[in-house]
Symmetry: C2
Subunit: 178 residues, 2 copies
């Protein structure tokens, strides 16, 4: 069923994605889909949750900067994929739960990276603030602009973000280099 | 026609928004809509472009920080509106042009604010980098999370962003306050 949704999204506008169309593509009776998912919104949210779950490895490079750079570069690469974007766009349209389904696992991964840093004896910001500054620009570029969200650019976001933290053990800066 | 789209989006899931449904709500023959817009995607992009055009005043408070804070607080307030969000979600689903239609005017407004600062003799960053750091978190919260994008929080984003700029005449910091 998930493959049927992905295929239809790759071929057509999201508005043609209906349960009967997915059923036809998957070769099952529409009643089966209505019984299990109830609506296209529910099916899409389910597909997005499963697609974006645990698909990225949480890196453990030994430093917060290294972990965040590797991870955000992977997120940016994933989000730049046209099929990923088509699924995200269609899922967003189903309502608040749809948008959340696209990034829930990203927040979980980010939380794990920040916890690693605390376990190493460093300090780490709140997940929400890190998500604003790191995931915000990546998903914004992908969904709202025609600017590329490249891996290099994503690594630059991490460097800028870490420079705004009051004191990051992963990014110690001399008090005065001038 | 624009009101018919807004009404339908406020009432129903985006997937029920079809040209015949809009035509029925607006009391016109579907053929009229197909002749003018061709597709729901085109109609939605048109509605979004018109809805998000010049709807926010570009402030001129005398400083870059003041202008950005006032403007981003307005953007955050607008984006938190359920009707605005419903239109954005439905438009995003239509494809890349849909997402761009939601924020084109925001980029124009941001460009004007940055130009004002240069005209005042200050320095200003590129629009793209400012959009990443300011519009990115606001639209990310609205579309992908259940976190509120409050006006106060938006003003905090501006302060953090300005602190990352190499030298902003709007935010002069002493070289060493310790």
């Amino acid at each position: 069923m998930h493959r049927a949704v992905a295929e239809l999204l790759a071929e057509e506008e999201a508005e043609t994605l209906t349960l009967p169309a997915v059923a036809a593509r998957a070769g099952v009776h529409p009643t089966t889909l209505y019984r299990r998912w109830g609506s296209t919104a529910q099916l899409l949210t389910d597909v997005a949750t499963s697609r974006f779950s645990d698909d990225l490895v949480v890196p453990d490079s030994g430093s917060l900067a290294g972990d965040l750079e590797r991870w955000l570069a992977d997120v940016a690469t994933d989000v730049a994929d046209p099929d990923t974007l088509a699924l995200m766009r269609a899922t967003i349209a189903t309502g608040p739960a749809g948008g959340c389904a696209c990034v829930e696992d990203r927040h979980r991964q980010l939380g794990a990276i920040l916890r690693h840093e605390v376990e190493r004896g460093g300090t780490a910001p709140e997940v929400e603030s890190a998500a604003d500054s790191l995931l915000g620009p990546v998903y914004y570029r992908a969904v709202f602009t025609s600017e590329p969200a490249s891996a290099d650019w994503a690594r630059g976001l991490v460097a800028t973000y870490l420079s705004t933290l009051p004191q990051s053990s992963a990014d110690p800066r001399p008090t005065d280099t001038r």
